[in-house]
Symmetry: C2
Subunit: 421 residues, 2 copies
Amino acid sequence: MTAAPRTSWVDSANDPTSDFPLQNLPYGVFRRDGTTRIGVAIGDQILELHACAHRGLLAGLPGEIAAACSAVRMNPLMSLGPASWSALRRELTSLLDADQPNAQAYETLLIPMRDVEMQLPAAIGDYTDFYASIHHATRVGKLLRPDNPLLPNYKYVPIGYHGRASSIVVSGAEITRPSGQTKPTAADPIFGPTRALDYELEVGLFIGPGNSLGHPIPIASAEEHIFGLCLLNDWSARDLQSWESQPLGPFLAKSFATTISPWIVPLEALAPYRVAAPMRPEGDPAPLPYLTATSQAIDLTLEVYLQSRSMRDAGAPAMRLSTSNLRDLYWTPAQLITHHTSNGCNLRPGDLLATGTISGPAEGSEGCLLEKKLNPEPIRLPSGEQRVFLEDGDQVALRAFARRPGLPQIGFGECTGFVVG
Amino acid sequence: MTAAPRTSWVDSANDPTSDFPLQNLPYGVFRRDGTTRIGVAIGDQILELHACAHRGLLAGLPGEIAAACSAVRMNPLMSLGPASWSALRRELTSLLDADQPNAQAYETLLIPMRDVEMQLPAAIGDYTDFYASIHHATRVGKLLRPDNPLLPNYKYVPIGYHGRASSIVVSGAEITRPSGQTKPTAADPIFGPTRALDYELEVGLFIGPGNSLGHPIPIASAEEHIFGLCLLNDWSARDLQSWESQPLGPFLAKSFATTISPWIVPLEALAPYRVAAPMRPEGDPAPLPYLTATSQAIDLTLEVYLQSRSMRDAGAPAMRLSTSNLRDLYWTPAQLITHHTSNGCNLRPGDLLATGTISGPAEGSEGCLLEKKLNPEPIRLPSGEQRVFLEDGDQVALRAFARRPGLPQIGFGECTGFVVG
């Protein structure tokens, strides 16, 4: 007989539809009344960590943890590493547990989520975007090379590129349709608003302690450098991308905006949802020794929703465009970290790594609109509209949840962007 | 009759071989006795700006300038913009001028360069590397596509990619030969130290005020966002690069290290060396309207020197491998800035833009070893050694100077790296 999962004295956390039960406790940075603080999501409330430290509730922990909890960005907390993160998590779990005897005294530490403005969780020194879904890479490749979609390096190299850190925004920020150069077939290039605005469904990994320059992180310890996970929308202008990307890769097609969800789910909260990394298909090469993983994948369901302006005006709910799963990546998070540092490149606390578009093998699991172009039918919205790419007024929301029988769901909150012309 | 150029009471600044006469006054960040400060190079000395402010010597300037001069990185100073930079430069020029009546009292503000350790000048939020030399792009293209070296987008798009900010180091730092995946012809990929380590001769532009997300910088005001220039060596592992770069561009082939020179030469110091941007050859398309430049190029001579271990052991001087000029770029600095922000991407104070390898049209002006592979003869060093790519123990030094009759030379100091295995 399995014990019932622990509950919290914060009632809303025990609602089975909540993203933020006691078992989640994601970290975020919020602003209220002109003050910026780190908090932990619990139900529809935020536990304010500076106030916890101020009241001496973290006094049982090493002083550097309480200090990191009082910062205005999470970089110091991220730098402390897994032992400190676990210690803090144990303390916060006990504080919020339904059995907590002082619960009533702690109610003043809570702030309703609706009263705050979420901020970027960290000063992001560098942002790297990978290309770890073989299903995404294969579908995109098919559009260019129907007979030979996957490039020869794909099964050996966790392909990635440097992204733009300055234009990372938090869920809710408006996304202005970017302008840029495009090249119509058989005509001269022109400059103007993109006509092929797309989303990309991704997961972001916030880096913990990291490594110093010249010292690669071995695969066995790579996960010690994952502070937590978020959702990430790598907005893309496909017409800019196809014209600018040779020979040095995507640049302005991506750098106008990247949206992340504000709540960073600790890797530890996802421990019950770890699964074996998918077996490589018969005939695929084994990873090179430096990438030979003992690490596991994460069973995390991902969804993309779209709501057009006319759907919103009609009170129609957003339409789910696709669903996929983080576990289906060709490369694990540990392999991404080890590959990234294999040349000696240093990762710093607060750096952000993203997986690249997460797609599955089946129809309906495409993580971006570009992949859906393989289907001759355009997307039909309940409003009667069609979509090939995003239109002004469209709202795109990414969602994620981990589920297992007998456990409350771990959600990621929303990662939403609204396209304006 | 032209007036003789001003001189300084700091004698070494008047030596015609000095990089740092009164007309230069580049800014740098240095460390001495555990303290980090901003300084200005003058001859073989450094004028310490915090001490100047502390002594009230900047009291005639707005308070924000003195405050920025007392910071430990130059980001605040960079954010102030051209009017503030000019005001500070006038003040410092007067302070160091040979006619300065209080010169004797100011001697204690000087620190010998040999006594300090130079640091990165700014917290670099994002680093972008361009590909602005058509001569470089053409030679590299010839190695891959002898009959059609230049890609169709080159003359329309200032091609660039996001680089890695964390691994930017200052001149003098050792460069550890990186390991990575390479693909020998007709064999499986292997992991090991690169066998094709290269330098790239580039110029870096440090960004001033920058722009907010969604607000492009028009070409007419682009130069207001250039704080100053430095030398930059974009170390590259060519064998990693050719295996990893499709479809998303270079990644680990570059991210192991980028070296910059520590002294940032103000754009204003280069005003006497501005020249018309080179005419586009007959038949080349005009730039699209958003890139139509009223801006000018900069006449700056660039050199690469190599000294192998055995040359050093024998006391032989470094050998000059190539010489080229910043004025020969296909795109001006203003065009790079405007293109970068044309999609709304925000540049922040302290961001770094690099030109890409600067090569000229003639033999001997190749800005990297890769280009020299077009010549069937390997490079012969005075020691009798040959070079195709860099060997352990090699020291690579970049140099730059602006010269005009009747003016002292403006130099950039050294941008040096030493390759270790």
